[in-house]
């Protein structure tokens, strides 16, 4: 009998390994209690940003989207509102990173990209919240809190990514 096997490349294995890291961080974060639902450190974005610098945008996009799907399956949230929020956040921050990667590398480092991607991330999520989950002008009241958290955690994640990059890429 002919056994068909999917041919995997070195790239596939690398993406799988890196996505596994991101999923682990996502899981870790899921059990951390948060004062306000939605305010999270977003540690998995460290992996996305690191991969963007080391292997390019395509790999980063794969890792990010795979992480969203696999984590939601593991948490039992697939296709639930929190999955849609997670996906829209990931898509918006990837879009931001896709635009930002063309910035001068001499002027803008991982910290810039991390902060701006975090803002794009929460922006995408708030858009879904406002349009679909809570169609109420009152959502605007929470925007400053989420924005402040995005800047703070974006900065911290950017610093961590910088440190990792300087350690492993020489």
């Amino acid at each position: 009998m002919d056994i068909k096997q999917i041919q995997t490349t070195v790239d596939d294995h690398r993406i799988a390994k890196l996505a596994a890291f991101a999923i682990a961080l996502h899981m870790l974060e899921a059990v951390i209690p948060s004062p306000l639902p939605g305010v999270k450190p977003g540690l998995a974005n460290i992996v996305t940003l690191y991969v963007l610098y080391q292997y390019g945008f395509a790999t980063a996009a794969w890792v990010s989207i795979l992480r969203v799907f696999a984590s939601s399956l593991l948490l039992g949230q697939f296709l639930a509102p929190s999955f849609v929020l997670s996906l829209s956040g990931a898509c918006f921050s990837l879009l931001a990173l896709w635009l930002l990667q063309h910035l001068s590398k001499d002027w803008f480092g991982p910290i810039s990209l991390s902060i701006l991607a975090a803002i794009a991330h929460i922006g995408g999520q708030l858009l879904i919240v406002r349009l679909w989950l809570i169609p109420h002008a009152g959502v605007a009241y929470l925007v400053p809190v989420f924005a402040a958290a995005a800047v703070l955690f974006g900065l911290i994640n950017g610093l961590i990514t910088s440190k990792l990059l300087s350690k492993y890429s020489g």
Partner: protein, 137 residues
């Protein structure tokens, strides 16, 4: 003791500073300014004193929030009932499908509004100064 702490924080700041590129400072600073701006614009809501009720594109009535009152407005679909009590106002009953206006419940800050598009009835809360005209903007 204080000297040690100060030198520690100074050295750790220098430690982190090496990761910043010139543009990163610009991005961080503008992000912080942006957040402060958001807090300033979205969180500076004062207590409202009056409510303005609109029917269609006309002002139907303006009431003080200090007097308890029930207002019945005849809209496109039927009668909307608006309740004013203790500095707050809400839609009690509405003939519309979505009932978003009713679910908004009590409103009390200047600049807040509840809009019932199907019945074309809306109410907007007014303070001493008008913070942001969200209905006409």
């Amino acid at each position: 003791m204080f000297n040690i702490r100060r030198s520690l924080s100074a050295s750790s700041f220098r430690h982190y500073q090496q990761y910043f590129l010139p543009g990163d400072f610009v991005v961080l600073l503008s992000a912080i300014l942006g957040v402060l701006y958001l807090f300033h614009t979205l969180w500076s809501s004062e207590q409202a004193t009056k409510v303005q009720i609109r029917l269609d594109d006309k002002i139907y009535a303006t009431y003080s929030l200090n007097q308890t009152r029930e207002v019945h407005v005849q809209g496109k679909l039927g009668e909307s009932v608006i309740n004013i009590a203790q500095g707050k106002v809400r839609f009690v009953k509405s003939p519309c499908q979505g009932q978003y206006c009713v679910h908004q419940a009590w409103l009390s800050h200047a600049g807040q509004s509840a809009i019932c598009l199907p019945n074309q009835v809306s109410l907007e809360l007014l303070g001493a100064t008008k913070p942001y005209d969200s209905l006409n903007y």
